[in-house]
């Protein structure tokens, strides 16, 4: 049992392949309450998208090996029957995908796809469902929804498609909404519109929202809490303020240093992380980040031998790092932060 609305405990999702076992998610835990927004940040292969599909139970029945617990509103989903999870899917929890053009079926009208989503979980006539679809399209800001309900996805612009996608995800008033890179495929002005829309909708629906993205700007715009993933594990978790103002993990520092920012004076050089994200088949021993870590030498040789634990540093701010807390803070204050803000 869990008293939290969403409580993920030690979730592991592994895929056996010909080349070896891919540990896409490897012991992930986090909690989320209704009305709150969690941002999950990471690079490609960090396991963030696999996690979201795992919560929805979309890996069930496939080749994936899943262990751990996912508690949603008092129900455990990992051990639940696929049929039960299917009934929750689209109703209690739903998802918004990255590329609305490929995520919507090209042969069915937008309306038909929303109607279908609604009628899976609600015994209503087509007419009622259609009315509902029109309402939803209007609600997500699509002009002339009565007319556009019969349009095909390709007849929509990118922004409209993402609005329709959101309308589809909202069709059964989900309590948990997962948005996987919801704005990555969109132009910046449209992205701003969609982010606004999602913020408004979340307030109205009081759903729990998980937003998965690689874009720190998007996370900062929406999230209450942020989970930074690396190599299938959470490496830092905290409030948005924790992550942006007092980040304690070298990887988070690297992410911040890698981004050119409009809100500050342009730095002379970006401060990238060396190397590339790890292969999930051969995750480096010890701390998965250590081959790319600039401070690996300061861990007293533990970096490549021991997997660090996710430890609370203060007030719900968790970090998975061998560096002592004081040293992390000192490095942030003296070596990282000044460089990010240098003129």
């Amino acid at each position: 049992m869990s008293e939290h609305f969403l409580d993920v405990r030690d979730l592991k999702i592994h895929f056996p392949t010909d080349d070896g076992l891919v540990r896409s998610v490897d012991g992930l835990s986090f909690k989320l309450e209704r009305g709150r927004t969690l941002g999950i940040v990471g690079e490609s292969g960090s396991g963030k998208s696999v996690t979201s599909l795992g919560i929805l139970g979309l890996h069930k029945g496939g080749r994936a090996r899943i262990s751990g617990e996912i508690w949603l509103d008092g129900e455990e989903l990992v051990s639940a029957s696929p049929e039960h999870v299917r009934r929750l899917r689209g109703k209690k929890m739903s998802m918004i995908f990255q590329d609305p053009l490929s995520a919507m079926h090209p042969y069915f009208t937008v309306g038909a796809q929303i109607i279908e989503a609604y009628r899976i979980h609600n015994k209503v006539t087509k007419k009622v469902a259609r009315k509902h679809a029109v309402d939803l399209l209007g609600r997500v800001g699509i002009p002339q929804p009565e007319r556009r309900v019969d349009s095909y996805p390709h007849e929509f612009s990118g922004g409209m498609r993402q609005r329709a996608m959101i309308a589809m995800a909202l069709s059964c008033d989900p309590e948990l909404l997962i948005a996987d890179e919801p704005t990555t495929a969109l132009d910046v002005t449209v992205q701003a519109q969609i982010l606004d829309l999602m913020r408004d909708l979340q307030r109205d629906f009081n759903a729990a929202l998980i937003i998965i993205t690689h874009d720190l700007g998007v996370v900062a715009e929406l999230s209450d809490d942020i989970l930074v993933m690396y190599g299938g594990k959470a490496i830092e978790y905290g409030s948005a303020e924790d992550i942006f103002e007092r980040p304690e993990h070298p990887y988070t520092w690297g992410l911040l240093g890698s981004m050119p920012r409009l809100d500050r004076e342009p730095t002379e050089r970006l401060l990238p992380i060396k190397g590339s994200p790890p292969s999930l088949i051969n995750v480096p021993a010890g701390c998965a980040f250590h081959p790319r870590c600039a401070f690996e030498g300061r861990t007293g040789g533990k970096a490549n031998t021991e997997v660090p634990d996710l430890v609370e540093t203060e007030g719900g701010h968790l970090v998975r790092c061998h560096l002592p807390r004081e040293e992390r803070r000192a490095i942030w204050a003296t070596e990282i932060k000044p460089n990010l803000e240098s003129a």
């Binding site: 910046v188 050119p260 970006l270 992380i273």
Partner: protein
């Protein structure tokens, strides 16, 4: 001011639209519609805009990957707009392109040595040893392990592949590099590596860049001057500081304001401009000022008269009837109406 390395004058690309039994031309997609700018030796010009604004088409027109329907492209004093493929070939070496997708632009069946080495053979480095040495030097230059000479593209990560692409480009010793979304397919941490690499190479090899991108932050970071495109036209062209700190065109302003800021504290304090709707179709662009359908400042004149691209401050050109942040004397009309 130095002689521009590349000068683009009134460049146009119209794709015909036909209809009916006889395939009469009923219109044209004006993908690029009268674009003019110079790129000076040693500088980086950023070309930004949303999808469909014509920035990528502009890049391809300059490199003659597609044929322009109007205007001129002058490179190093040669008018290459309609130069034959034979004549243009030597100039092509001086003007190279880096593409967005590092996966598809490398031949999977060739080793890195072969990919990067091909240009050397063209240039007359004949000995096997000589080519290998030259390739390894370049691999080191772009931050790849020279020992990986014999590996195939699939053995590299995305960022490394983009480095291979850059190495291949550099092997021809170009003067101008046109980079079309060079980092948008890469992870954040890798983006920064490649951006830094491009900057380092510019300093070391005295390169000139035309960077085409949609990411305003990256463009700001890398560019000396920036041109903003909207529906086939340049709406604003200025140096970096001028454009990002005092944008004159409402569209530029809206773009900048739309970029999410990675600062949870700042989000409450920022003044936001939210544009309505999407970019109109380039098949039927709005008349006169193309931005007027989404512009909160638009007036009647914007629907009837196309604003010319005028220099309103030193090095700062803008095409707007009601520019913001403009020096008052430059446009008395505007003051009267505000």
């Amino acid at each position: 001011m130095t002689e521009p390395l590349l000068s683009v004058q009134g460049l146009e690309k119209h794709f015909p639209v036909t209809k009916g039994l006889l395939q009469r031309q009923v219109g044209a997609v004006k993908a690029v519609d009268g674009v003019s700018f110079d790129v000076r030796k040693g500088e980086t010009l950023g070309l930004v805009g949303e999808s469909g604004c014509g920035k990528t088409t502009t890049g391809r027109l300059i490199t003659r990957l597609i044929e322009p329907t109007g205007g001129k492209v002058i490179f190093e004093g040669h008018d290459i707009t309609h130069m034959s493929q034979g004549k243009i070939r030597p100039l092509r070496r001086d003007m190279q392109m880096i593409f967005q997708d590092p996966y598809s632009s490398l031949n999977p069946r060739h080793t890195v040595g072969a990919i990067v080495g091909a240009p050397f053979k063209i240039q007359g480095v004949h000995t096997e040893q000589g080519v290998k040495k030259a390739v390894q030097d370049i691999l080191a230059l772009v931050g790849l392990n020279p020992e990986h000479y014999n590996r195939y593209p699939h053995e590299f990560s995305g960022g490394q592949r983009q480095r291979i692409g850059i190495a291949r480009t550099l092997a021809l010793k170009p003067k101008l590099i046109i980079a079309d979304e060079p980092v948008s397919a890469l992870d954040v941490s890798i983006q920064a590596q490649v951006v830094n690499l491009l900057e380092d190479l510019q300093n070391e090899l005295d390169l000139t860049y035309l960077v085409i991108a949609h990411d305003l932050s990256v463009v700001r970071h890398i560019s000396d001057r920036v041109a903003v495109m909207y529906l086939g036209k340049i709406v604003e062209l200025a140096d970096r500081k001028g454009l990002y700190e005092s944008p004159m065109h409402p569209y530029t302003n809206a773009l900048l304001s739309a970029v999410p800021i990675p600062d949870p504290k700042g989000k409450a304090g920022r003044e936001r401009i939210r544009l309505q709707g999407d970019v109109p179709s380039p098949l039927n662009p709005p008349p006169a000022c193309r931005f007027h359908t989404r512009c909160w400042k638009a007036q009647e004149i914007c629907k009837t008269e196309e604003p010319p691209l005028l220099q309103l401050a030193p090095g700062h050109q803008v095409a707007c009837h009601f520019p913001e942040n403009a020096p008052a004397l430059a446009e008395p009309e505007v003051a009267a109406q505000t």
